[in-house]
């Protein structure tokens, strides 16, 4: 999708975060030399076009006591992936859910989801409950717990800050 110069200026102005003031969009407007209404319209347009998912926060799960972080990968028949992707993403403890290409012969998994919990045991319990609730017993899967996180800074690419997705979730 093409970004206009206005889009780019707006993205650059807010990429490090919104100002923490009662009128944040007015403050952005002041920095850009434009009006509050224009900034709000510009952000609404970025949201509408899906360039921004939302104005929100990135939570650092580890810092909040969610120390166990599992990437659960599934080998789902292609014809069911949409249905199962939706089921998993609706689960409370699933923080991300993506379809990705298989890399055969070594990597047969095409659906990835992240589960965060206070302990490995609680993550395993969530997973068992999910499998039971949705009858996923027949679907090959693996659980990859993380042992260390090396680079947790919100990465930047080019001019834009990348969201560090629901954080602590090695996912792209």
């Amino acid at each position: 999708m093409e970004l206009s110069d206005t889009d780019r200026a707006l993205i650059a102005a807010v990429q490090d975060g919104l100002p923490l003031v009662a009128h944040p969009y007015a403050e952005v407007a002041r920095q850009l030399g434009t009006s509050e209404a224009d900034v709000m319209a510009g952000i609404a347009s970025l949201l509408e076009r899906g360039l921004i998912k939302r104005m929100g926060v990135v939570v650092r799960h580890r810092a909040l006591g969610y120390r166990a972080n599992a990437m659960v990968v599934w080998n789902v028949p292609d014809e069911n992936i949409e249905q199962i992707g939706r089921l998993l993403s609706g689960e409370t403890y699933v923080t991300l859910c993506y379809q990705r290409p298989r890399r055969l012969p070594h990597w047969p998994y095409n659906l990835f989801c992240m589960i965060h919990g206070r302990s490995r045991a609680s993550v395993r319990r969530c997973l068992e409950t999910m499998i039971e609730a949705h009858g996923l017993h027949g679907i090959e899967h693996e659980v990859l717990f993380s042992t260390r996180a090396f680079k947790q800074c919100g990465a930047r690419y080019g001019k834009f800050a990348m969201p560090q997705e629901p954080a602590g979730s090695a996912h792209g």
Binding site: I43, M55, V57, V58, Y98, W107, G158, M162
Partner: protein, 147 residues
């Protein structure tokens, strides 16, 4: 982090409204005033409980490329390889995971054509094959983690 902070984080995960005074509604829901909402967000950022407050970009929609990459790295070389990988500004988070493929990192580039170049450089520098898995579909996640 107290009960109000927890509620605040839950509310903020939903997204901030695009209106003139977006914190008013949050303050009312929490029964505190706006300056306290702002002060608490600042404190959560300062203490690194939250890492960002602002727009969550959709890389693919912006024409970029975001891919999860995995490598099999020998244990004794792991830290050295992690350093090589993390030195690339296009690499977002990098995690060690319990699997034969034990290093998992995200490569984010502004243009799709830069992606192959970065992945190729990482393969050459580290001497490891990269399993490169761009996301094909994201399934919507609603409000998360009732803290």
């Amino acid at each position: 982090m107290d009960e109000i902070d927890r509620e605040l984080v839950n509310v903020l995960q939903d997204g901030l409204a695009v209106c003139r005074r977006p914190f008013d509604d949050i303050a009312a829901r929490l029964g505190i005033d706006v300056s306290e909402v702002l002060g608490r967000i600042q404190k959560l950022l300062d203490s690194r409980m939250l890492s960002r407050f602002g727009p969550m970009y959709n890389a693919e929609q912006m024409g970029g490329c975001l891919s999860l990459c995995a490598m099999q790295v020998d244990a004794e070389r792991f830290d050295a390889v992690a350093e090589l990988v993390n030195a690339h500004p296009e690499v977002a988070h990098n995690y060690e995971r319990e699997h034969v493929l034990n290093m998992w990192f995200v490569v984010a580039t502004e243009l799709p054509e830069q992606h192959a170049r970065v992945v190729g450089m990482i393969e050459r520098e580290c001497g490891c094959k990269v399993y490169d898995m761009p996301r094909q579909q994201e399934y919507f996640i609603g409000l998360k983690l009732a803290l």
